[in-house]
């Protein structure tokens, strides 16, 4: 089953998408993620996220689904993820517009993008998701091709060793 993160990764890097969706995830090496997880567990706070199958929404209002990103580093991937939420909700009869908030690096300014999808858009995306599902069926991930984003990617060592 697809998730928002998988759709995001597919747009960002197909190899990362394949590895991640086969549970070869490297994100856990990040110290921030680990500490966040530990504190979360320890405090046992209630979470404000809304989770449906494959999607975890940051915010859902009568009009909008809002997705919040730390930076606008990969806007296309973030948009693909939000679109996936809109399509999934649409199938459940929940029709919303999308709102993407990117906090800039210094977190003082933020950019806001609104997304509205037509029925054709939605059909087109569904075809795209089937394409992703087929891709994930492959026995092996595509070989890595060096791109500037690789330098900061958690998979760099694994990809290029």
């Amino acid at each position: 089953m697809l998730t928002g993160t998988i759709v995001n990764y597919y747009t960002h890097c197909q190899r990362q998408c394949w590895l991640f969706s086969h549970n070869l995830n490297m994100e856990d090496n990040s110290e921030d993620v680990r500490i966040g997880k530990v504190l979360h567990e320890l405090k046992k706070q209630g979470t404000e996220e809304i989770a449906l199958e494959g999607i975890k929404l940051d915010k859902l209002t009568a009009e909008y689904v809002t997705e919040i990103k730390k930076s606008d580093a990969d806007l296309a991937a973030a948009k693909a993820q939000l679109e996936f939420y809109l399509v999934t909700l649409y199938d459940k009869g929940i029709i919303r517009k999308g709102c993407l908030e990117c906090l800039e690096k210094n977190k003082q300014s933020k950019s806001v993008h609104t997304l509205v999808m037509s029925e054709e858009d939605i059909e087109e995306r569904k075809a795209y998701y089937r394409q992703i599902e087929d891709f994930l069926e492959q026995e092996q991930p595509p070989s890595p091709v060096f791109k500037p984003i690789c330098k900061k990617c958690a998979y760099y060592d694994y990809c290029f060793i």
């Binding site: 549970n23 680990r34 530990v38 504190l39 567990e41 320890l42 991930p141 070989s143 760099y156 060793i161």
Partner: protein, 335 residues
Amino acid sequence: MSKSNETRYIFSSGELFQKDFSIVLRKDEKNIYLPIKDTRELYCFNDITLSTKMLQLLSKAGIIVHFFGYHGNYIGTFYPKEQLISGRLTVAQALAYKDKRMMIAGAIVKGIARNIYFVLYHYYRHGKNEFKDYLDWLRKDVPNLVDKTNDINQLLRVEGAIWAKFYQSFRTILPESFAMNKRVKRPPDNPINALISFGNSLLYTKVITEIYHTHLDQAISFLHEPAERRFSLSLDLSEVFKPVLVFKTIFDCVNNRKITVEKHFDKKLNYALLNESGRKVFIEAFEERLNQAFEHQTLKRRCSYKHAIRLDGYKLIKFIMEEKSFTPFSLEDKK
């Protein structure tokens, strides 16, 4: 207690408990705080008491704890449950044991020979001509022998011969007080055996920690029998690092007189075991070597020897999942 990177060594006895989301070591009525943020691995060399609640925190935070007995003997590892698992890889790893065992085990044995060659070549260049035959054998014969065999026991005999000849070379490299006739595993019966045993267990625990941060299954090994120990894959991946990390540390400590028989071994036990200060000196030198950085020739990045262990884990995953050839770390090639 000493600290380097995210590894903490506890030499005193005491109690570990959780307070304010930190790990606390209580000793002699004093509390020492170990922030979770900077702790990924703990070594306990003395009587440490800890509760289930503490273990839960360690597990959540993915902190590994290695326990050693009072004489520096390895007891075991607390291996947190929360680990990276990929079902796809686990299945592929088991299949690789069936279909590609000789390829992986052979690559490891060649790797041992390559790294011993490089370590000893240094001495040969400085006039130890008696190593010539052994060096030639390592460079030319071992790869041939490995490629020709398709039987694991035969391969293990080649490996055994590599190490036996290596130990014989110590007579030339080390002062007489440390020279060794034969390698005795347990209990070690002379100072050099004690150093090797201690160094190998330290390396083994380091490899356990590095593999923990990959998706590999610690129980499925290739050179060693999978059932040999709970972490038999760590035995496998530690082999090529022994010359690089354990033996270079030993040669450095002994030849630069950082460790001497009189000061750093237990006299009561006939100098067959390191005493506490000996262990501390060795650990410090070992950690220094682990954290030493070099320019990795494939990644084109600075990389520590410790990280090179993790990278060998990645190479193995790539061999298993993506059929990229597996060549363990080479000290000479720096990759």
